[in-house]
């Protein structure tokens, strides 16, 4: 019954969303308010119906209704109940439904929050959002239906279908439970409970700015209203996408067992591409808000960001390139490619059309190469360059080599380590300079004066690193550049606090809090920059100074690596976990400077019921802020287990990557915090604006 409810809800949602598109557009063109409102209500109804479908699938998973083929494919009776919840996005059909659900929730949020304030944009924005929803609902209904059920045909053949085939019978759940597959082992990790939803929220969130941008082009309201309507949504999407990427890194670090967190895997990169584009957009949009410039460019960026989101989804789910994420592959590749291509083409044509009408003229021109807007343009250029390099390495080279050279070029870490560090260094350098430049115009001497204190602090930091024994030129240069960005962010906050202490006679903590509350966007931005700096410190440390060694040890024997000693104490083979996995666990003691500091238990998990991917290497780690002592169980002597081979990594400062991520998230939330409405004599009133227009209109 639950499958029928889910299927019917999805079918009705598809009809409601199509109706919503037609009525929103037609009502707006004919200026018929009732029709437009009907379209809006249909969009809200779509949200309710998709919610019912999602709940239905979740209930089927929890109640172990194995006659639903999706439930059978991602769960089994031995699976803990926690993973029954996360199994909702454990495979293609469920994750598509979950994706659609997140999308309709965002859509409903945008409709409810923006309908009154941005009435002119909303009908078109709703139509665009619903158009994307229609596509995903169609995928769910016709290609990847999560409500397909198992049927036994009269000739004994077993098929999965949403509707009952003639003369078919349903097998019992108990019988199906015996063969149920269970969740992919890679997904049986706490990180998987959070990483995919965060990533989906990030991806899908960019639909709202995109829809507002398209609505602005369609309606002709090309003022900054679409930016104001979508800024918060863009920030939310960026926050979740950042969180998704960081959690993805953490998951890879814990589960994939190779000692790192970013392998430049094509699917990792596919999620990184919209982040790069979205970050460029978040910076660039400020120029339009402040100076009425880069209108075409911002529109292009918002299109490109969402286009990259759809491309990333296509790349992940189609098997376009080989990746560790290949478990999500299916037959939806072509429709997704077609949708991505059509959507991007229509958006770009619409943009070009409006531009050719002269409706995207900038209000000002660039006056000065050191002005903040010029430096933001440079920032955008660097993000675009990074986008090009990452896109080429992940997709451009493999696809074009196969198409035109009849060979298969796969570019790996080697390529990315040769091409991206320069661009990252330039971005960090710019992060250190741009916040100190002023809008409109800044002289070199003024900018130089602002930089004196941060530069002194940076030099002191570099000297400190050198005094600590750092002698690698690359590391010294990298840390100097990253430190400058960090000191500028902290110095700007410090200057603000000192100014408030002087003018308002506040204590430092009150001054800091009031400063942030007064301009959350600015200081949230500095906090985000500081988070990125902390991540940078972690990445540089863990990349340039990683130490690794592999040894085979006998029980009681030790190996030395750096100033650590690792002693192999015990081996516990064949431990059976609650979820049915069989674990072979080694126990080792980590000794530092002669003192035992931790016990680590690296293990190899074996999933007997899973045929595709049935072993996992789980690291044992001793984490401190200074480094991670990360141990992998590579192999062992089958019978006695007396000898086992361990691979040990010392990853310096790796934990700063996660802490930096946390600071970045806090900073973004701070920037999202609504600025208090201040009514002062300097506020611009409509009456004040009109005389100002007289000269130009």
């Amino acid at each position: 019954m639950i499958a029928e409810i889910g299927f019917a809800s999805l079918a009705l949602a598809l009809l409601a969303s199509i109706y919503s598109i037609i009525t929103c557009v037609a009502g707006e063109i004919r200026r018929n308010e009732r029709v437009v409102l009907s379209g809006r209500n249909a969009a809200l109804l779509t949200t309710a119906l998709v919610t019912i479908a999602t709940v239905a699938l979740q209930v089927a998973l929890i109640q172990q209704e194995y006659h639903v083929s999706y439930v059978w494919s991602v769960s089994n009776p031995a699976m803990p109940s926690f993973f029954r919840w996360t199994a909702l996005w454990g495979s293609q059909a469920g994750s598509l439904l979950f994706w659609t659900w997140v999308m309709v929730l965002f859509t409903a949020g945008a409709i409810l929050l923006n309908w009154r304030t941005h009435r002119r944009l909303m009908p078109y924005a709703t139509a665009y959002m619903m158009a994307v929803v229609v596509f995903f609902l169609a995928l769910s209904l016709f290609l990847e239906n999560p409500f397909d059920r198992w049927w036994i045909l009269p000739d004994g053949e077993v098929v999965a279908n949403a509707l009952i085939p003639a003369g078919a019978q349903s097998p019992t759940d108990a019988r199906l439970a015996e063969t149920a597959r269970g969740l992919n082992p890679l997904l049986r990790h706490f990180g998987m409970a959070i990483h995919p939803p965060m990533l989906y929220l990030g991806f899908v969130g960019f639909l709202i700015p995109f829809a507002f941008g398209m609505a602005a082009l369609a309606s002709g309201d090309l003022s900054t209203n679409w930016i104001k309507a979508s800024r918060g949504w863009a920030l939310v999407a960026w926050l979740f996408l950042s969180l998704g990427l960081i959690l993805g890194g953490r998951w890879a670090y814990d589960v994939l067992g190779w000692g790192g967190y970013w392998g430049w895997d094509p699917v990792e990169n596919a999620a990184f591409l919209p982040w790069l584009m979205g970050t460029a957009y978040l910076h660039s949009v400020m120029i339009q808000e402040k100076r009425g410039m880069l209108k075409t460019w911002n529109m292009f960026l918002v299109i490109a960001t969402f286009s990259s989101v759809i491309f990333a989804t296509f790349a992940t789910r189609s098997g376009l390139v080989e990746s560790v994420h290949s478990f999500a592959r299916s037959e939806i590749g072509f429709p997704m490619f077609f949708f991505w291509f059509t959507m991007t083409l229509i958006s770009v044509v619409l943009l070009m059309w409006r531009r050719s009408q002269g409706k995207l003229q900038d209000d000002h021109k660039f006056n000065n190469l050191l002005s903040r807007e010029s430096l933001f343009v440079l920032n955008n250029f660097l993000f675009m360059a990074l986008f090009c390099v990452v896109f080429w390495g992940s997709f451009g080279a493999p696809i074009s080599s196969e198409l035109f050279l009849d060979t298969n070029i796969t570019l790996g870490t080697d390529y990315f380590m040769q091409t991206t560090p320069w661009l990252f260094a330039a971005l960090y350098l710019l992060m250190g300079v741009a916040p100190l430049s002023a809008w409109t115009s800044t002289s070199a001497s003024r900018l130089g004066r602002s930089l004196i204190v941060p530069i002194i602090l940076t030099i002191a930091t570099t000297l400190f690193f050198i005094a600590q024994g750092m002698d690698t030129t690359v590391a010294i240069v990298a840390y100097t550049i990253v430190s400058l960005a960090g000191w500028v962010a902290l110095y700007e906050i410090y200057r603000g606090v000192v100014a408030r202490i002087r003018t308002h006679r506040e204590n430092p903590i009150s001054a800091l809090l009031n400063l942030i509350q007064r301009n959350p966007r600015r200081y949230g931005g500095y906090m985000v920059h500081f988070g990125v700096v902390v991540i940078g410190i972690g990445v540089i440390g863990s990349t340039l100074f990683q130490v690794e060694s592999q040894r085979t040890l006998q029980i009681g024997e030790s190996m030395t690596i750096d100033n650590y000693e690792l002693r192999y104490d015990n081996f516990r083979p064949g431990q059976i976990s609650q979820d049915g996995r069989i674990m072979d666990i080694a126990e080792l003691t980590v000794i530092k400077d002669g003192t035992p500091v931790a016990t680590v238990s690296p293990r190899r998990d074996f999933f007997p019921e899973n045929t595709d991917m049935n072993t996992m290497t789980i690291a044992g780690a001793h984490s401190t802020l200074e480094n991670d002592f990360y141990v992998l169980l590579v192999g062992w002597e089958e019978i006695s287990s007396n000898n086992a081979t361990f691979k040990v990594y010392i990853n310096p400062l790796v934990n700063l990557v996660w802490w930096g991520g946390l600071i970045l998230i806090l900073g973004t939330m701070m920037a999202f915090y609504p600025k208090p409405v201040l009514r002062s004599s300097t506020a611009t009133e409509p009456q004040q604006l009109i005389p100002a227009m007289k000269g130009s209109v």
């Binding site: 003022s223 900038d362 896109f391 570019l411 870490t413 390529y415």
Partner: protein
């Protein structure tokens, strides 16, 4: 002197002379320098990708096939092959996909240079675009008085229109 050497002693001498290089060789392989360690194998394996798995470095891949390939690297190192020779051998057998960037000159150049060409092209187009627009803006500026509030005014106007 040689004529006085007993045949048995001569035989022992010959055996000793023949065995010395072998003993020295065995001693060398066990003195730590000659033995191929896991780290030496991994140094090379991490520069290669598993020929059958997907984007997984050979040193991190847990499949039995990769175990065999790592063993092969060990044998090749023991046979005196250099890192470059071993990588070349893998590329010869499995193609460029086993390395992070292609080894052959043309595909390598194509891989490394193409994005920079695209970036440079983008830069040139942007500069050209900016220069053209500056000229246009200058001519518009000659006609229009400078105004800083156009966008803000438009926002208000659009909001009024939308009610």
């Amino acid at each position: 002197m040689a004529a006085q050497l007993h045949p048995v002693k001569l035989f022992v001498l010959i055996i000793v002379v023949l065995l010395v290089p072998s003993v020295v060789a065995v001693a060398q392989t066990n003195d730590g320098d000659g033995v191929i360690t896991d780290d030496e194998v991994n140094d090379i394996a991490q520069k290669l990708y598993c020929p059958v798995c997907e984007n997984i470095p050979l040193d991190a891949c847990g499949t039995a096939a990769c175990d065999d390939w790592r063993y092969e690297i060990r044998i090749q190192l023991e046979a005196g092959m250099t890192e470059a020779q071993i990588i070349d051998d893998f590329v010869y057998r499995f193609g460029d996909r086993v390395v992070g960037t292609p080894q052959s000159t043309a595909p390598r150049l194509l891989s490394l240079v193409t994005p920079w060409i695209a970036i440079a092209l983008g830069l040139v187009i942007s500069f050209q675009f900016w220069r053209n627009r500056r000229d246009t803006d200058d001519s518009i500026a000659a006609d229009d008085a400078p105004n800083t509030n156009i966008s803000a005014y438009r926002d208000l106007l659009e909001n009024d229109v939308s009610g």
